[in-house]
Amino acid sequence: MFKYLMQIIGVFLLILLVSGLPIMFGIDDERDVVFRPEVLVIQSADLLTDLSQGTLGTYWIGRTERSIADDLVSFTEQSFILLLSSLLIAVISSIVFGLFLHHNRLSRGVKRVLDFLSTIPDFIMIMFFLVGAIAFYQMTDIRLITLSPFAEGGLRLWFPIVVLSIGPTIFLLKMVDLKYYQVGGEDYIRTALAKGLAIRHIQLHHVYKNIKPFLVADLKKAIAITIANLFVVEYLLNVSGITRFIFGDYAFATAAIGLGVLLLLSVLIYGLIRGILYLFERGFIYE
């Protein structure tokens, strides 16, 4: 319990430290390095007093001042939908293509495509998808994507979700694929095969169970990758998500709140996906 408490405090301080870097450290016009940790302490204290009184303050977009509290919920919701859907796509497709359809031709094709995509840096891929979707619209008049944050429905969100899911899918699929090779070479698999158990049975009861700890361990890393891509995806595809607070016009309070919310979101999503995996096991493995 004490250890967890320490970790939570450590993470909290890290968020304040990272988001406070610009006010703490700088170089002035006389080319001197300015290092003022006390400003960070004062502003953190201000932020905490604000929070304890239930107000969040305001932030600026260009020349309009907006209340943080008004936008926080809708921004968080957008980011939550993006993160959860793309991570679900990543987890499901890595299990399906990496494990159950390991020898399937379709899955080999998927792996080859993802292998190719993994060589292209994400931001370049997003730009190419954009150019492609616009060219498609000009040729056929069919609108695949829209960048307007006011548009309703799936048209607005499917594209960011797909783009965002590519990074974690590549990461998890590679891991599952590699572990399949390692676990598949173990003696207990050979024994099971020699006893005449069906391949599906072995995959579900022996391979999956032995891959799962690695999947869960790498899930945290996959969430970190998705969040790093979320910055670029939300910025380039004009999604009004929580990263607006972080990469908008800089203010300490907004950046700290943005990072804090992002952290809470990732913990929540980690828990949800663990829950879904648990249900899957209850339903199919332990029945």
């Binding site: 080319r31 370049i124 598949g184 698999i189 380039l236 990469f247």
Partner: protein, 310 residues
């Protein structure tokens, strides 16, 4: 893949190496190969075409005089790319090299330590969840734009920041491998023959790491390049950003490739060569290093592979 025999480099490695060799040449000789000076500018002027006066205003499309065209302010794009290549290539290579060298030294010693160094492992764990772009962004955002520092100073600052922030992950991979090797019978044998820690590290552990370190080095180059690209999108360019106001425009001071992409993002639909010239150059560079790392990895896998039963 099966056509690759053990111990030989696959074709992708050689293609990648040729691309990287050409890039290094371009980076070294770029400015002397450039067709124009880096400050030469095509201004708005009129010429006579078919007996009529025509006003020529940049950006000029690719032509015989300007092979890749010019940007919005009339600077020759090929020249800018040739001048910027050294910043793109050498900055990434230096960062990757520093990360690998420092990571190896620290990782070897922590991995060989008698007891598990839990304090370091918790740092590693915590840091592996932090997207590196975040601290880099927050460190640069107030320093890099319209800075009083020179281009060289800003580049050195960038190198220092990105190197230090990337060390934990480099240490992590070396440490894990070291801990595996430490358990091997030949290390135990050397220990029982009375070999000291330094001797074991230099003679037994490090030689086992060499192949992997090469892979890590090339992968770090790719990581740093894509980090530079991401920062370019947020208008933080290596070697400094010059911001001009009303309208807000951002210019790369060093003409580094990721910076050129970032500053010409507005040309994605219209007069596309301004955007696609630096983008293509950047993609070729990334592709070169990627092919190289793929080749190295394929060779490594061929050497140590184990076939599954199902």
């Amino acid at each position: 893949m099966s056509s690759v025999s053990r111990g030989r480099f696959p074709v992708s490695f050689w293609i990648g190496s040729v691309i990287v060799f050409v890039l290094v040449m371009v980076a070294l000789l770029g400015p002397s190969m450039a067709p124009y000076g880096v400050k030469d500018q095509v201004k708005v002027h009129s010429t006579v075409v078919d007996g009529k006066d025509v006003i020529v205003s940049p950006p000029l499309p690719p032509s015989a005089e300007h092979l890749l065209g010019t940007d919005k302010w009339g600077y020759d794009l090929l020249t800018l790319l040739l001048y910027g290549a050294r910043y793109t290539l050498f900055t990434t290579a230096i960062i990757a090299l520093l990360r690998v060298v420092l990571g190896t030294i620290i990782g070897l010693y922590i991995g060989m330590a008698e007891r598990r160094q839990n304090w370091w492992i918790s740092i590693e764990n915590a840091w592996s969840y932090m997207p590196v772009i975040l601290p880099v962004y927050f460190l640069l955002v107030r320093v890099n734009i319209n800075s009083p520092l020179s281009e060289t100073e800003l580049t050195l600052f960038f190198i220092a920041v990105v190197t230090i922030l990337g060390i934990p992950s480099a240490v992590s991979s070396v440490r894990q491998k070291t801990e595996q090797i430490k358990e091997m019978p030949f290390v135990t044998a050397a220990e029982s023959l009375g070999a000291g820690r330094e001797h074991i590290i230099v003679r037994h552990v490090f030689p086992q790491l060499k192949e992997q370190l090469m892979i890590v080095f090339v992968m770090e180059i790719i990581t740093v390049m894509s980090l530079m690209g991401q920062l370019g999108i947020f208008n933080l360019f290596v070697g400094g950003t010059l911001q001009t106001f009303s309208p807000d425009l951002y210019h790369s001071m060093t003409h580094e490739w990721a910076g050129l992409i970032g500053q010409s993002r507005g040309f994605i639909q219209y007069k596309v060569w301004v955007f696609f010239a630096p983008l293509t150059a950047f993609i070729i560079a990334v592709a070169g290093f990627t092919l190289m790392s793929k080749g190295l990895q394929a060779r490594y896998q061929m050497t140590y592979e184990r076939k599954p039963f199902v």
